[in-house]
């Protein structure tokens, strides 16, 4: 019995929590009350046996525990009154009865996700709330993954929950006309969690890889609840990128470029899952930004070796991506693809004109890219200058080490023209 309750706690807590939040309209109260309900279960179930629908029993008990708590602390704030009133009617019933009659408990996690990622909340609060409330990560774990003080993260959670309550952020899946915009906010939060984990810097690298896994898990949950084309695209993108995780850094944490990675280290199972999902996304004919990025990642995943990458297709995909999502960073990536397709001189012309526009002057990868193109063209002096400029602009240690290595290689090789 204890093992059963344990499993229920581990696997179902977040889902039950989402429903209790809907019933009691308060995150903290819902969490406490659901814990109370599990405590009752541990006491009662060994004697009475497990109820027919344990989830419904727990939700129902949590609801009564919430009322108890409200009564005890006399927290009769606005909303609490109403809750007491509309729950009081059911209070005379056997707590286990009311919900047990329902066979299916609705899955309220989608509401929970949309509430945590409401655009009225700052992005860093959205991310903290999502990881805490939807994924159930411990506050200290989230803090260490983001290299933050526990207190800082706790404060973000408190601020977020206070705003949800006071500003009346609804606990609802948005209406159809708002859905695309609001889904974008959710996907952006998930992708931010992924990137935070994927671009792991040294030190806490291990915990940060967990963040990438968490983001993928969250993506799958979202996919199950809302199988939209862009959700498929995002999950595909994350799977395809994450499949390269082991290959993308060396034994000392140094970055290894895509074309120099040992492709045997790529996770084939994950690539296949990503490709299958991408096919589904493409079949909807809605080519959103995540789907297009996944399609680009798929081109790399399909190439058995770097030399056999279909750069023509990648250029075309960047073209589509630019149309869907104009951005100088995407233009830079397209320039890199053009350089691979048509040679470094063609790419350099594009990067030069892009840098002239001024938006990327402070972006280290723009200078690193130009350095690399100059290096391929044998312009050692120009390459050196650009590497140094890039080095000045980056603060990430693995990036700095990578650029230093490039600089040293440049000096060692002299003016040899190699591609």
């Amino acid at each position: 019995m204890h093992a059963d309750i344990d499993a229920l706690y581990r696997n179902e807590f977040r889902r039950l929590f989402a429903t209790v939040v809907r019933l009691v309209r308060d995150f903290d109260l819902a969490e406490d009350a659901l814990h109370d309900a599990f405590a009752v279960a541990i006491q009662q179930w060994p004697q009475t046996g497990m109820p027919q629908n344990p989830g419904a029993w727990l939700i129902s008990t949590a609801r009564f525990k919430a009322i108890d708590r409200l009564r005890r602390t006399a927290r009769l704030e606005l909303g609490a009154d109403a809750l007491l009133e509309d729950t009081a009617g059911a209070a005379s019933d056997d707590p286990a009865m009311h919900y047990e009659q329902q066979q299916e408990i609705p899955d309220d996690r989608l509401r929970l996700i949309f509430t945590c990622c409401h655009p009225a909340l700052a992005r860093e609060i959205q991310v903290a709330l999502t990881l805490r409330e939807v994924c159930g990560l411990a506050t200290e774990d989230i803090a260490s993954a983001f290299l933050l003080q526990g207190a800082t993260l706790a404060q973000r959670l408190v601020r977020g929950k206070a705003k949800i309550r006071a500003a009346g952020i609804p606990y609802e899946v948005p209406a159809a006309e708002q859905l695309p915009e609001r889904l974008d906010a959710v996907l952006a939060a998930v992708y931010l969690v992924f990137n935070e984990g994927y671009h792991a810097s040294s030190g806490a690298a291990l915990t940060r890889a967990d963040l990438a896994e968490e983001a993928i898990r969250l993506g799958h949950l979202l996919l199950e609840l809302l199988p939209d084309a862009e959700v498929m695209g995002l999950v595909a993108l994350m799977l395809l990128h994450d499949a390269r995780r082991t290959a993308r850094s060396g034994p000392n944490g140094e970055l290894i470029l895509l074309e120099e990675q040992d492709r045997a280290l790529w996770n084939r199972t994950q690539i296949d899952a990503g490709l299958a999902l991408l096919e589904r996304a493409l079949a909807t004919r809605e080519l959103g930004a995540y789907t297009l990025q996944a399609a680009i990642a798929a081109e790399h995943a399909r190439a058995p070796e770097a030399e056999r990458t279909d750069w023509g297709r990648i250029v075309a995909l960047y073209q589509l991506l630019l149309r869907a999502n104009p951005s100088p960073v995407i233009e830079l990536n397209r320039a890199i693809a053009v350089a691979m397709r048509d040679g470094p001189a063609a790419g350099l012309a594009l990067v030069d004109s892009l840098l002239e526009r001024g938006e990327l002057t402070q972006y280290h990868l723009a200078h690193a890219t130009r350095a690399d193109l100059h290096r391929r063209l044998g312009n050692v002096n120009a390459a050196r200058e650009d590497y140094l400029r890039a080095l000045k602009l980056t603060r990430q240690e693995p990036q700095q080490r990578f650029l230093m290595m490039r600089l040293q290689a440049l000096e060692a090789a002299g003016a040899t023209n190699k591609r």
């Binding site: 009225a120 006071a166 500003a167 009346g168 952020i169 609804p170 609802e172 948005p174 209406a175 708002q178």
Partner: protein, 125 residues
């Protein structure tokens, strides 16, 4: 829930005609809100040049010409509305004409208990 929507725009951006058109659009919005049971109050404000700021310190009243803070965009009007939640309030804010030029800030009201129900001597016309 109750929300105060305050509208901030650059006063110098508006011509007299535009201001007139904005008032008319606002009036229509107020009627639509009233129909939906969401209207409590709304008004445009005279320009910030008419603002007076008051402080009382150690029993002394300090009166100064001008707004509380000099900003690039100025408070130009407000709506007081009833809405079920923030999304409903955002939906209303999107329809306020000033939102297309400036910013509408949404603030939930704290509903104090024990307040008088109406002002005895002054009824809004």
């Amino acid at each position: 829930m109750r929300y105060l929507l305050t509208i901030y725009t650059n006063e110098d951006d508006w011509t007299a005609d535009e201001r007139e058109a904005c008032m008319e659009e606002s009036r229509q919005l107020c009627h639509a809100l009233a129909e939906a049971g969401q209207f409590i109050d709304a008004a445009p404000l005279h320009p910030v040049a008419t603002a007076t700021s008051i402080r009382v310190r150690q029993g002394q009243t300090l009166v100064t010409d001008g707004p509380f803070a000099e900003t690039h965009e100025q408070l130009g009007g407000y709506y007081l509305i009833e809405a079920v939640n923030l999304d409903a309030a955002i939906g209303i804010a999107q329809r306020i004409p000033g939102v297309r030029r400036g910013t509408v800030e949404i603030r939930p009201l704290v509903l104090l208990g024990g307040m008088p129900s109406k002002n005895k001597h002054f009824a809004r016309g």
